[in-house]
């Protein structure tokens, strides 16, 4: 508090000095460091949340800069992993808190590892499969999470409190078809900021313990069409829900239900995850790939291989992104040809 940096926030009476101390003692897990993730992590870091863990599987590209507020042209130029760049920037914003970036794809093993000691999970992902995973983990470990989603000029958000509200599976039913998740219609930055404004405010309420202040509705808006809706969804809670019902099975925490390949949102890219987590020896792989008839570029976090009009990005955590295809079989055969199982 030496620099009085939180004075305007502690003057706000629902937070106050007591609330500020609670924020300092809190640990928030932010899953995804794209548009929603960069926006909300900056809000929470500036607000003095004591520990932030940020997980993201991707690296910075030029098309991110229009809305992903923590990244620079240099990050895009050098293909810096988002979790690395976000951690670096947020540490400049607030050096008094703990910030950990993890370059990883969040699946069962990762969520069970990262959820330990966490007070709240913020959904900043771009797909429903990961959200269902967060939803099950939230129920199993009794940690609240806040859904956020946006495309075009609209967005929506809902706060899931285990044992108090319906869960995401109650509201959504099954996972929508993949086409639904892809942002082919684009996105404007204000839609992102509107979602994170709501997510962050709900986060503050939870972290300072003001549960009575929570919104308790599914909130929807369209900033361009001037639409909004705030729906009370308490009646949608289902006793037979496999995630939050009377005898939950947490289906999305079952590894057998997890895909090993994923088509990335709107990117014409397939991600391949090895069956087990391991740390790839990038320098050895780089030497091997340099013997091929292609172009190899590397930074400490990943290798970019361009060969035969294809492009692959190989991460230290074992994952590979195959660009220029939506076809999983094509992606797998390229993976096997150049990198191997």
């Amino acid at each position: 508090m030496s620099h009085n940096r939180y004075s305007r926030q502690t003057l706000f009476s629902p937070i106050g000095e007591t609330g500020q101390e609670k924020l300092k003692q809190s640990h928030v897990l932010i899953v995804g460091a794209g548009a929603l993730g960069t926006s909300i992590s900056e809000i929470l870091a500036r607000a003095g949340v004591g520990k932030l863990s940020i997980v993201d599987r991707d690296y910075v590209e030029w098309s991110n800069l229009q809305r992903q507020q923590l990244y620079t042209e240099e990050d895009a130029q050098n293909r810096i992993p988002k979790a690395v760049s976000a951690e670096r920037r947020l540490k400049q914003v607030n050096s008094e808190i703990t910030i950990q970036g993890h370059v990883a794809d969040v699946s069962v093993e990762e969520i069970e590892r990262y959820i330990t000691g966490v007070d709240l999970i913020i959904d900043a992902t771009d797909n429903f499969e990961t959200r269902m995973l967060l939803n099950d983990a939230s129920q199993k470990y009794n940690v609240p999470w806040i859904y956020g989603g946006c495309t075009g000029s609209h967005g929506l958000t809902f706060t899931v409190i285990p044992e108090k509200t319906p869960c995401f599976a109650c509201l959504l039913g099954a996972i929508p078809m993949s086409g639904e998740t892809c942002d082919t219609v684009g996105i404007i930055s204000p839609a992102v900021q509107m979602v994170t404004a709501h997510q962050a405010t709900e986060a503050f309420k939870i972290l300072v313990g003001d549960y009575d202040g929570l919104r308790n509705t599914l909130l929807f808006f369209d900033l361009w069409k001037n639409e909004q809706a705030s729906i009370k969804v308490a009646s949608m809670q289902k006793k037979e829900c496999p995630s939050c019902g009377d005898s939950p099975s947490y289906p999305y925490l079952n590894k057998e239900n997890q895909t090993r390949t994923a088509i990335l949102c709107g990117r014409d890219t397939v991600q391949i995850r090895p069956p087990h987590m391991f740390e790839r020896d990038l320098s050895t792989l780089k030497q091997k790939l340099q013997r091929l008839d292609g172009k190899v570029e590397a930074n400490p976090f990943l290798i970019n291989l361009s060969i035969d009009n294809q492009r692959m990005v190989i991460f230290k955590d074992g994952r590979v992104l195959v660009h220029g295809t939506k076809d999983i079989t094509t992606a797998k055969s390229l993976y096997n040809r150049y990198i191997g199982g």
Partner: protein
């Protein structure tokens, strides 16, 4: 008839009489939705049965994956 949809007045053609018709009219048929009519949530199984009348307040929210 005129409905208030997500806070805005909208004229819908006469072919729209049920919640299902409205969803089709708005081209939201392929999406995961939450529908509320006059502050009451309409379960998906009731969309075809639930009739709409002039002046109804309808909230239609579809889940989006982007982020």
């Amino acid at each position: 008839m005129t409905l208030t949809i997500n806070g805005n007045a909208m004229d819908v053609p006469e072919t729209v009489s049920s919640v299902s018709d409205l969803i089709t009219h708005l081209e939201l048929g392929s999406k995961r939705l939450v529908v509320e009519v006059n502050q009451e949530i309409i379960d998906k199984s009731m969309h075809a049965e639930q009739q709409l009348t002039n002046g109804d307040r309808v909230e239609i929210v579809h889940f989006v994956g982007g982020g």
